[in-house]
Amino acid sequence: MGLDFSVVPGYLDALFLGALWTIAITLSAAVLSFFGGIGLAVIALYAPLVIRLPFRLFAWLFMGTPLLLQLFLIYFGLIEIGVDLPAFVAGVIGLGLHYAVYNSDIIQAGILAVDKGQHEGARTLGLSKVQTIRKIVVPQAVNTVLPPIGNNMIALLKDSALVSVIGVAELTLTSQLAISKTFRPFEFYLAAAAFYYVINLGLEFGLRRIERRIQISR
């Protein structure tokens, strides 16, 4: 059959739109996974056992099973109990929760690494326990754990390709649609890979800048 890349330019607009959706879903899920990770970490470290246990079960379940399976469960499974989410929302929730669990592990380590004296000092100064965690401990922990969380976000970008299977018209699904019209899988998947690579470079660049800024501010 051979290769013929001349069919790709005709679909560039569609691919660009798909890339925008990929970026949108990645950023939304990244924000969810970041704050979700902080929430889960605080619960895992400070909440009473009754609250902690179900969350630990949840984390264990999400870490031990493939993301693809989780996406199926959230998109097709929740319909059974009457929650019919749009594919985009299901994708963001699935990706976001999956990576929240991973981020929570990193943030827990970061919180434990914050000097104990900080906690004691803040309490001595009259801050409540919640205030201490929210204003003193978590901000310092987040600074130290930013690089590994950045790595998770890069992984998240690539895993966002999985939401194509539940029908979100992002980069992967867009290239599949182009393939179904042109029967040229190699060319279009390669084009999609190139798009992902460029987005990835951009994300890495952005993360490095954020890291540097935080390092300066310390």
Partner: protein, 215 residues
């Protein structure tokens, strides 16, 4: 929760789990080979090999594994590579995890104290001898844990090949969700099997790690 259904379908899930295990073992073996070669290339004296190693890691880690599988399976025939879904799954996943393992192995080798290399070179050992007799035995211990993380990720990563219709655990779960409309039961069943696989692998890795400690 329909336990009767779970009891009825679980043999099919176990059968599918065998395919997942085969996929995991074969792709991890291929990944280790790719990782070893990649690390050798990245640490080599030849700048061409170093570039090839760096490009391999950057391109594979910079693009989604799903797209890589699609290029191999759907795009392969266009350039004369005809693979069935299982073969494409093993090769695609192996090449993919190989890029991550390249960095793991390279990291472990670099982590061995530089004085070790200097000392053995001073003692008159060749470059290869130093690597083989002094550096690698120490690096091997350092890489067991991080390679374990790669392996753990790969077991879950095999779920991707459901998208190229390999009948493994996730594909089976998906099919039964379609035919029974019981997504939670099917998810739980498949999830438990995945967790068992990961748990057992984790035990094996800890065992290796404990054995590798220098006494």
């Amino acid at each position: 929760m329909d336990f009767e259904l779970i009891l009825r379908v679980y043999p099919y899930f176990l059968e599918a789990a065998l395919v997942t295990i085969q996929l995991s073992i074969l792709s991890i073996a291929l990944g280790l080979v790719c990782g070893g070669l990649g690390a050798a290339a990245r640490l080599s004296r030849s700048s061409i090999l170093r570039f090839i190693g760096a490009a391999y890691v950057s391109v594979i880690r910079g693009t989604p594994a799903l797209i890589q599988l699609f290029i191999l399976y759907f795009g392969g025939p266009q350039v004369g590579i005809q693979l069935d879904a299982f073969e494409a799954g093993v090769i695609g996943l192996g090449i993919n995890i190989g890029a991550y393992m390249t960095e793991t192995i390279r990291g472990a080798i670099i982590a061995v104290d530089k004085g070790q290399t200097e000392a053995s070179r001073t003692l008159g050992m060749g470059r290869w001898q130093t690597m083989q007799k002094v550096i690698l035995p120490q690096a091997a211990r350092l890489m067991i844990r991080p390679l374990g993380v790669n392996i753990n990720a790969q077991i879950k990563g095999t779920a991707l090949v459901a998208a190229i219709s390999v009948v493994e655990l996730t594909y089976t779960a998906q099919r039964y969700i379609g035919s029974t409309y019981k997504p939670f039961e099917m998810f739980l069943l498949a999830g438990l099997i995945y967790m068992m696989l990961i748990y057992v692998t984790g035990l094996g890795i800890s065992w290796l790690d404990r054995r590798a400690v220098i006494k």
